[in-house]
């Protein structure tokens, strides 16, 4: 065998070995990342490609205090310097959360009693950024011809929200009715969907650990799809009723190819609420 033929044969083996290794790696590992899909008009498509299934697999994020991006853009959870959800250290363990004194007190209370009174625990919906932090998948359905976007959530309480893309302002004064999910208006800033939300009621917590909010809460959400399989979510939490300045939380939401939404009706057998007692051991429902 000439040395040239030897090299060619060896190269073929090396290439075959690489190919086998690549082919065995399954759908996600080390293949080039697929670009995010776009709609016909060029707008980023935050949902399915026609002919394919798929849902966003919303992660279970329990403590937004671990999700504040630092100077490098990464959160404590992403840097791995803290456990995914942090500990039950109360407000003093979260110097980056700008609590007002009462909010600090209520957060410490929720930490001490292990989130016993979490409204989501008795099947009320999550408000604000917690929608993107409560398990079970969700879908984003764009209707540019109707100038609106729907977000459909299997989890939480089998809930949906509508984002008005028609340029309308938020209702003013008493026209703005406080609700669990608030009033959402959106627009595209290049490839980022920016959603401005106001009009929240005070019946929800920002997260499972119990960061509180008031009806002054104003959330600015940013949704981007850097690759086909990742949704980057960022939310500015601006609530002068509970925090001394706005703070930002962010995390990634993975695409679950082939996934579909199923039914989850939390209210069906809401035993936790029936058994819930107050700090004096009395049934919470007993006084009604």
């Amino acid at each position: 065998m000439t040395s040239a033929r030897y090299v060619a044969l060896a190269s073929a083996f090396v290439i075959a070995a690489f190919y086998t290794a690549w082919a065995n790696q399954g759908p996600s590992a080390s293949r080039p990342l697929e670009a995010a899909p776009r709609l016909a008009d060029g707008t980023p498509n935050l949902g399915r490609v026609p002919g394919e299934k798929g849902v966003w697999n919303v992660p279970y994020i329990q403590n937004m205090g671990m999700r504040i991006p630092g100077p490098d853009g990464k959160t404590l959870a992403e840097r791995g310097t803290a456990s995914e959800n942090g500990g039950r250290g109360g407000a003093k363990a979260e110097p980056d959360v700008p609590f007002l004194p009462w909010a600090r007190g209520i957060y410490d209370y929720n930490s001490r009693n292990n989130s016993k009174y979490d409204p989501e625990g008795y099947c009320l919906p999550p408000g604000g950024p917690r929608l993107m932090a409560t398990p079970y998948p969700m879908e984003i359905i764009q209707q540019p011809e109707h100038k609106r976007i729907f977000m459909v959530f299997e989890g939480a309480t089998h809930i949906w929200r509508e984002i008005y893309m028609d340029g309308r302002p938020h209702p003013q004064g008493d026209e703005l009715n406080p609700t669990y999910l608030g009033h959402s208006v959106g627009h595209w800033d290049h490839d980022t969907l920016v959603v401005d939300v106001v009009g929240f009621n005070e019946n929800t917590w920002l997260d499972y650990y119990g960061h509180p909010h008031t009806d002054l809460l104003h959330v600015i959400e940013k949704f981007t799809r850097p690759t086909k399989t990742t949704l980057r979510y960022e939310a500015l939490i601006d609530d002068p009723g509970a925090y001394s300045k706005p703070w930002t939380v962010a995390w990634n939401i993975p695409w679950s190819a082939g996934g579909e939404l199923t039914e989850y009706i939390c209210q069906e057998n809401n035993r936790y609420f029936l058994k819930l007692t107050d700090d004096f051991g009395q049934p919470v429902l007993g006084g009604r």
Binding site: N85, S115, K116, C123, P135, T262, E268, N269, Y272
Partner: protein, 133 residues
Amino acid sequence: MRTKLLVAAAAIALLSTAPVAAHHSFAAEFDASKPFKLTGVVTKVEWQNPHTIFSLDITDEQTKKVTNWSFEMGSPNGLMRNGWTRNTLKIGDVVTVEGSLARDGSPYGNAQAVVLAGTGKRLFAASSRTDAQ
């Protein structure tokens, strides 16, 4: 016991393909420092939201007294994503359950692993516990 539970937790992590949601506060209702392993006969399966709950008649080995225990798992949508169906557990099956006991001392627990006693077949992990600290 703790090692066994850790092994079980690792198996659960490997088997899980989708989150089995924690819905209410696990820590408020269950005590992660009180693990249990109990064997009994299935008397009831409530395939319901937000938690599937099944009951076992468990006989105390010494007193022979039978107590009916109940165990909480995830919700049907999460359980189905992890390979369960409403008929995975049948009345009369003898199963061994591992998990965490209720804080209030009642015969109630959070199930993290369910094994068919006859065959040793491990049914898919089921816990609503993802937040035990």
